[in-house]
């Protein structure tokens, strides 16, 4: 770790500092003051104006301007409205929302109340996956404490503002992070997305106007109110303000959470904060945006990270998962991994996503088995674009992204698989080949005795041979041989 202060923590400001099960500690950190300030000093419209001025954009992935969303929901006239917190964090390798809810649950509750005040809702719902038991437990404690002390409930801080929050549990379906599917799931229906418009801000939960924001978005709100929009909008880049939390995972030394100002480069995140690649290996790629995102190469290491630059680079911000890959990772297999995830999580409602992704997966499978052709790469591209263009929701529309971005950035690796029958990273087992070098083999029989499938033959003190038709490429012989007589190609 070289530089030590690249990080600025806004959403994570209290995580690891306060006891999340004690509301007193949150209050001592100016907790609920933003709510107090809004209720006493600002009208809902003024508060919304402040959020708009801050430039805050949705941290769940879409990047929609938060203030604008609140304004739209506020402008819809209705007796009942809802504030929903999307805590259905589902990207592989992303865990920032969990960490915020486990470390600082009150910041989310406070922001939801502020949102309720702004849009005219008296009810908040947190949709959280049941796979986060600790976060649920801490939220329950936080809600109970806030009610007891009067910061949730009726006539909050002596004002004519009522707001209460309940939890709704999800079963951990990825598609339920999509807001229309999330709302259906909360209503007790199948978690399937529906066409927008109408947007939830017009017709959402129970057909009422509903404002859905992500955990991290909410966690940033109290700071914007307390420190002012003009403090917040000085951080970041022209179109992406503030900070973003990233969950670093994969082949990186400092696995964990970081929060950096928008515009920090990938290199700073990976090498300076993240401590570089495990075992000093070569950086290959970083995957952002989860199954909807893409893989960035080292050419993008110096690109300032913000919403627009990531899209331009062929990936997306997503919820902030960053999976780092090194020279030993096969990009075709990585694309296949993400498609496996999509296959499992596709709700099956529309054909391009349900069937198309299956076909994409089959082609990738074929390539990793060494049976692919150059035409298969073109087929992948065509099919990917069809799925993108014709799927109903964001899951389908973005599911081919890992395939397209790995082809765009690592076409050579695909070609090595289909043309030379080689996997450059040595990951695709079907493309590996173990051979015994005759001159080096002493006939010690060690490999023969350890081969689990009896693929090795040979007399004692004479060179041995591997029967390629029987070999399962387990690599045991390679590891056992004391004379370096076995090669891997």
């Amino acid at each position: 770790m070289t530089d030590t202060k690249k990080q600025l923590r806004i959403a994570l400001r209290n995580c690891g500092l306060i006891d999340p099960e004690k509301i007193e500690e949150y209050i001592a950190q100016d907790g609920y003051f933003a709510l107090g300030k809004c209720l006493t000093e600002f009208s809902p419209e003024e508060t919304i104006a402040e959020i708009k001025k801050s430039g805050l954009r949705g941290r769940g992935g879409g990047g929609f301007p938060t203030g604008l969303k609140w304004e739209i929901t506020n402008n819809v006239k209705a007796e009942q409205k809802y504030v929903v917190c999307n805590a259905d964090e589902g990207d592989p390798g992303a865990f920032m929302d969990r960490s915020i809810l486990e470390g600082d649950p009150h910041s989310v509750l406070e922001a939801m109340a502020i949102c309720g005040y702004c849009i005219g809702a008296d009810k908040g719902l947190i949709y959280i996956r049941a796979e986060y038991p600790l976060a649920i437990e801490r939220l329950k404690i936080a809600i109970k404490q806030a009610r007891e002390i009067g910061l949730l409930g009726n006539e909050i801080l002596g004002k004519s503002f009522n707001f209460d929050i309940e939890l709704r549990y999800g079963a951990g379906a990825f598609v339920c992070g999509e807001e229309t599917a999330l709302i259906h799931s909360m209503e007790g229906l199948r978690g399937e997305p529906t066409f927008k418009p109408p947007f939830p801000s017009v017709s959402g939960y129970m057909g009422k106007p509903t404002n859905v924001n992500n955990v991290e978005t909410f966690a940033s709100i109290p700071v914007i109110i307390n420190k002012g929009a003009s403090w917040f909008n000085k951080i970041g880049t022209e179109k992406s303000k503030g900070t973003k939390v990233f969950a670093l995972a994969g082949k990186i030394n400092n696995v964990g959470l970081v929060e950096v100002p928008m515009g920090t480069t990938l290199r700073e995140v990976v090498y300076e904060i993240g401590g570089g690649i495990v075992n000093g290996k070569e950086f290959k790629s970083v995957q952002t945006g989860g199954p909807s995102g893409g893989c960035l190469t080292q050419n993008f290491l110096d690109t300032p990270i913000d919403y627009d630059n990531l899209v331009e680079a062929g990936s997306m911000m997503g919820s902030g998962g960053m999976i780092v890959m090194d020279e030993d990772d096969c990009m075709v297999s990585i694309a296949k991994f993400y498609l496996e995830f999509t296959l499992e999580e596709s709700c099956g409602k529309c054909t391009p996503c349900r069937v198309g992704n299956k076909r994409l997966h089959e082609i990738l499978e074929k390539i990793t088995e060494g049976k692919g052709t150059v035409e298969d790469i073109d087929r992948l591209k065509v099919l990917s674009n069809v799925i993108k263009d014709t799927s109903l929701c964001g899951l389908g529309q973005s599911s081919p992204n890992p395939v397209l971005s790995t082809i765009a950035n690592f076409e050579n690796e695909y070609l090595a698989h289909v043309e030379d029958g080689k996997c450059p990273a040595g990951q695709c087992k079907s493309l590996l080949r173990y051979d015994i070098v005759e001159d080096l083999c002493t006939g010690c029989t060690l490999c023969f005795r350890n081969c689990p499938v009896g693929a090795i033959t040979g007399e004692r003190r004479a060179p041995h041979y591997i029967d390629q038709s029987l070999c399962i490429k387990c690599g045991v012989c390679f590891e056992k041989c004391k004379f370096n007589a076995i090669t891997l190609t």
């Binding site: 202060k5 600025l8 923590r9 995580c15 099960e21 960490s99 486990e102 600790l134 002390i149």
Partner: protein
């Protein structure tokens, strides 16, 4: 705690908490106690933080050390869990990573009781809005 019925109430309670009746990340409270925070988010617990927290509570009680042990969330250094932050009276907090039982005992014996510097400190590499 009483109900908070106005912004003035909230203000008063905050000042009380900051001046010593409460705890937390604020700086000028209960300076005379050794304060220990154990990271107890999912990442910490998965690495064994519950046992470490228990060990600190029991061991400090056995040795009659005047200490407060709290739980807290994740500092973001998930690779180094379990993590423990120790603040000795009149000093800056120090964060230790990879705290297993052996290390925990070492922290109590060497750092807390004898005030010796020990290895394994994780430098805090971020600013918060409070800095």
């Amino acid at each position: 705690m009483l109900k908070i019925k106005s912004l003035a109430d909230l203000n008063r309670i905050r000042e009380e908490l900051k001046s010593g009746n409460g705890r937390g990340g604020n700086k000028n409270i209960q300076e005379q106690l050794v304060q220990i925070k154990v990271g107890m988010a999912t990442c910490g617990i998965a690495s064994g933080a519950k046992d470490i927290m228990k060990l600190f509570i029991e061991e400090c009680e056995n040795q009659a050390i005047d200490v407060e042990v709290h739980q807290t969330g994740c500092l973001g250094y998930c690779y180094a869990e379990p993590m423990v932050e120790v603040r000795l009276p009149d000093s800056k907090p120090v964060v230790f990573g990879y705290v297993d039982k052996k290390r925990a005992k070492q922290i109590i014996e060497k750092y807390i009781i004898q005030g010796e510097q020990i290895e394994g400190e994780i430098p805090i590499s971020f600013q918060t809005i409070y800095d």
